[in-house]
């Protein structure tokens, strides 16, 4: 008997396969249109998925370190700011968590934090973020503010062997920290509207964050009153030690990429070790495994599509790939659930085709197989993943005093 788990989906352009836009079911001319994103989000929402992540990057070539990333004309190019896409989708969806990607190197942490708080307000408690550390040379040239930064993974492939990447993760940690501090800066009941005293605000319940870090400082409180979740759900994607440590220290939920179900145990122990060393959050870190999926009615049909796509532009990916039927995907989800993950994030190879297959075939089968946690009606994303609504750190101090 498996533990029941959540299902999430990762949305990006025409899907995760670089040739997906060339399929007949794709809508390549509409990838930055409101109708396209509204349709994707509604499909995912109606299907009962826990959350949708929305990819982003700050250059035409995405986060690729390849030299030709900006000059290639055969791949999907052009995208929208993910925090704003999530804000746009909030009023037209009901239950699904909205988790945009944000890079931590260039944006102003204050703007990012208030944007996420506003996402939480407009979605009535369904806002999150996936933080990405580091920048590419193309991103730095676009901003023109910093010359130094990572130039790619070092030859060893390990983040800890590149000082620039290590610095990027330290900066990401500061961004995660101030997102939470600013979210806490207004206590829940700071707005009093007291006619007798003439005060709109109880100034003792709003707190300057006075954050002074290695990379930036922020003095004031947020401009946004406390949002329904208190803090947005902070997530990260991690493949190796330094990102695991970052997630264990700063995230509520981590997306990992086990090669198979057997690899989950090792990842979980490494995350637990990192959490023992660095985690200050009271709650446990939720772990979701990524699966890249291509779903057709028969194995042969799936293989045929896959071969066609790979011939056109081969996919290189960090995640396990499942090419097959809905039952094949359900089997993989069950194996991961048995291995002890809290959830699985599906990356559709093709959009909207594989998202529709997930909605129409994978989820109903996984549900009837008893693998999925039913919607318990909890009002916020944080509560749906089994995490408590955090009290403001300032309110906690008062209780302790």
């Amino acid at each position: 008997m498996s533990d029941r788990i959540h299902l999430a989906v990762a949305l990006d352009g025409a899907g995760w396969h670089p040739a997906a836009w060339r399929e007949r079911t794709a809508r390549p001319a509409e990838l930055t249109s409101p109708a396209y994103w509204r349709a994707l989000a509604r499909t995912a929402d109606d299907a009962g998925l826990l959350l949708a992540t929305i990819e982003d990057a700050l250059s035409l070539g995405g986060r690729s370190f390849e030299q030709d990333a900006e000059t290639r004309r055969d791949l999907v190019r052009g995208r929208l700011d993910a925090v704003l896409v999530a804000s746009f989708l909030a009023p037209v969806t009901r239950r699904i968590g909205l988790v945009p990607t944000a890079t931590t190197t260039h944006p102003e942490p204050f703007h990012l934090a208030t944007g996420l708080q506003t996402l939480d307000h407009v979605s009535r408690g369904r806002g999150g973020v996936r933080l990405v550390a580091g920048s590419t040379a193309q991103e730095r040239a676009n901003f023109g503010r910093r010359a130094d930064g990572p130039t790619g993974l070092p030859a060893s492939g390990r983040v800890e062997d590149d000082p620039a990447l290590l610095a990027a993760f330290r900066e990401a940690g500061e961004v995660a920290d101030v997102i939470r501090r600013l979210a806490d800066s207004w206590e829940d009941d700071a707005i009093v509207r007291d006619l007798a005293s003439g005060k709109f605000l109880d100034r003792d319940r709003v707190h300057n964050v006075d954050f002074e870090g290695e990379f930036f400082s922020i003095t004031g409180a947020s401009i946004v009153p406390r949002s329904p979740q208190g803090q947005p759900l902070v997530t990260a994607l991690a493949h190796q030690s330094v990102p695991y440590r970052f997630a264990a220290e700063h995230a509520d939920l981590v997306f990992v990429t086990p090669a198979d179900a057997a690899a989950v145990h090792g990842i979980r122990s490494e995350l637990a070790e990192a959490a023992d060393a660095a985690r200050t959050l009271d709650e446990p870190l939720r772990v979701f495994a990524d699966l890249l999926v291509l779903v057709e009615e028969t194995p042969a049909a799936a293989a045929a599509v896959w071969n066609r796509l790979q011939e056109r532009a081969p996919l290189t990916t960090d995640a396990r790939v499942v090419v097959g039927t809905a039952d094949d995907v359900v089997d993989e989800i069950r194996a991961l659930a048995d291995a002890g993950v809290d959830g699985v994030r599906l990356r559709p190879a093709r959009l909207p085709a594989d998202l529709e297959a997930i909605a129409d075939r994978v989820i109903p089968r996984a549900a009837s197989a008893g693998i999925l946690l039913p919607d318990d009606g909890a009002p916020t994303l944080r509560e749906r993943v089994g995490l408590p609504r955090l009290a403001s750190r300032y309110a906690r101090q008062e209780v302790g005093a």
Binding site: H111, G115, F143
Partner: protein, 462 residues
């Protein structure tokens, strides 16, 4: 003779003493339902756009958070983008600072809003140089006052270059050949000056209106120059008829030097309104609202900001304080102008209070709660029309005094009268974009007309 078309914008009542939170009908300034109500009302009234201010830091008074007025507001870009999902026609314009943003990021955020709204985005470009707000940002408070508009101007130049760097027909998405983009789909944008060193390839496709509408709100000579060079709309404070007419002539007269015609820049001053069934009822209502906007504590706090002293011992219904303002250490270098300015301001206020025999509270009411249009709906409609027909404005940016219902009465009572006069639209029939609604000339196409890399540094250096 055809009548000049009135343009109206709607300002969401925000963080200031003119927004009356003590009104029993006042609602949340944060809940999305408030914004949705406001946007739907504005759309029902066929407004050109709704307009949001921006918050960079909570206001403080004498070292503590200011607690008398509405405080706290959402992030401007996020709320406008959420509104794009629940509206169909109305423009979505936000104030966004050129000092504490970076062009590539802000241009892609505004480009995102523009695409998700189908070409309805606008940007009120403002500047800031003060360390108080800067303390919340990486850039901090270092920017010299003199550089504010240099940065703003280059920021706008660079943003326009980014927005026009994609060909309209950049995406071919030819599944057979495998070409997603044309070869010459995107021009590289280079901008290298004292303030910027950007070598960018933009990643947001061109929007249906070419680029967001640019609004400008400053009134200094630098601000007017910025407006005539870059803006599509001016949000001015010139509402007295003669003053408005003079400002209108001055600004429109400067356009020719930039190769622009009169219609390419709309002037929409901020205007408040109070309605009544009779003139007397409207005046009475205006008086009640003013008293709610300027409560005794608000009046004292207002003066304390000028005097830089504790004035809590003074009676708001009594005369102005007899103490001198605290102008700080007089010997500090570079601050002589500020001391003189404060003393001059205090002298001016004393003269006005004496001449008109005003208490502290009445003086502050004159200064901050002076309603632009007071009267019957017929009177207000006829005044708005007169300003536009006689070239004092192209319309107004209307702000109510209650959140979020402050626009309801105007939409229900004044708008139909403007329509009857034949000077206001009865449907959104001009087109789909904010440029269309404002009657602005189309944005000159980008990359197709100007092959090769943009070099905005050359333009900026001229």
């Amino acid at each position: 003779m055809t009548r000049r078309r009135i343009h109206l914008a709607a300002h969401f009542p925000g963080v200031n003493n003119t927004t009356v939170w003590t009104d029993p009908a006042a609602g949340s300034q944060i809940d999305f339902s408030s914004f949705e109500h406001f946007a739907r009302t504005a759309e029902r009234g066929f407004f050109d756009y709704l307009f949001l201010a921006e918050g960079l830091r909570l206001r403080e008074h004498r070292g503590q958070l200011h607690d008398l007025d509405v405080a706290g507001r959402p992030n401007t870009l996020a709320i406008l983008t959420a509104l794009a999902a629940v509206t169909e026609h109305i423009g979505l314009v936000g104030t966004l600072n050129t000092t504490f943003n970076e062009p590539y990021e802000l241009a892609r955020q505004l480009g995102t809003l523009d695409l998700l709204s189908g070409g309805r985005a606008g940007w009120n470009a403002v500047t800031s140089s003060d360390a108080f707000h800067g303390a919340n940002f990486r850039r901090g408070g270092y920017l010299d006052h003199a550089d504010r508009y240099v940065r703003a101007s280059e920021f706008a130049e660079l943003s326009k270059a980014l927005w026009s760097s994609w060909r309209d027909d950049a995406i071919v998405a030819d599944a057979e050949t495998g070409a997603f983009l044309r070869d010459d789909a995107i021009a590289r944008v280079r901008h290298e000056t004292r303030l910027f060193d950007v070598d960018a390839v933009f990643d947001v496709p061109r929007s249906p209106q070419g680029r967001p509408v640019i609004v400008q709100a400053g009134d200094s000579p630098d601000g007017r120059d910025f407006a005539t060079a870059h803006a599509d709309v001016i949000f001015s404070l010139h509402t007295a008829f003669d003053d408005a007419q003079q400002f209108y002539r001055d600004v429109k007269g400067r356009l020719a030097a930039h190769g622009r015609d009169e219609d390419s820049l709309k002037i929409l001053p901020a205007a408040t309104f109070v309605l009544g069934d009779t003139e007397a009822e409207a005046r009475e209502h205006s008086r009640e609202i003013a008293l709610a906007q300027v409560r005794p504590q608000t009046a004292i706090t207002y003066l304390e900001q000028i005097w830089n002293r504790d004035l809590s011992g003074y009676d708001a219904d009594g005369p102005l304080p007899d103490v001198e303002p605290d102008t700080g250490v007089e010997t500090a270098q570079g601050f002589a102008g500020r001391h003189a300015a404060i003393r001059a301001r205090v002298g001016q206020l004393r003269a006005q209070a004496t001449a008109e025999n005003l208490s502290i509270r009445e003086l502050v009411i004159r200064l901050t709660a002076n309603h632009t249009f007071v009267g019957t709906p017929e009177h207000v409609a006829s005044e708005i029309d007169r300003y536009v027909q006689e070239r004092a404005t192209d319309g107004f940016t209307v702000v109510g005094h209650v959140t979020p219902h402050g626009l309801d009465e105007f939409t229900e009572k004044v708008v139909p009268l403007l329509q009857e006069r034949g000077s206001y639209r009865r449907s959104y029939d001009e087109g789909a974009t904010l440029h269309d609604l404002l009657g602005l000339p189309p944005v000159v196409a980008g990359a197709p007309d100007t092959p090769g890399p943009h070099d905005t540094a050359t333009a900026a250096a001229r």
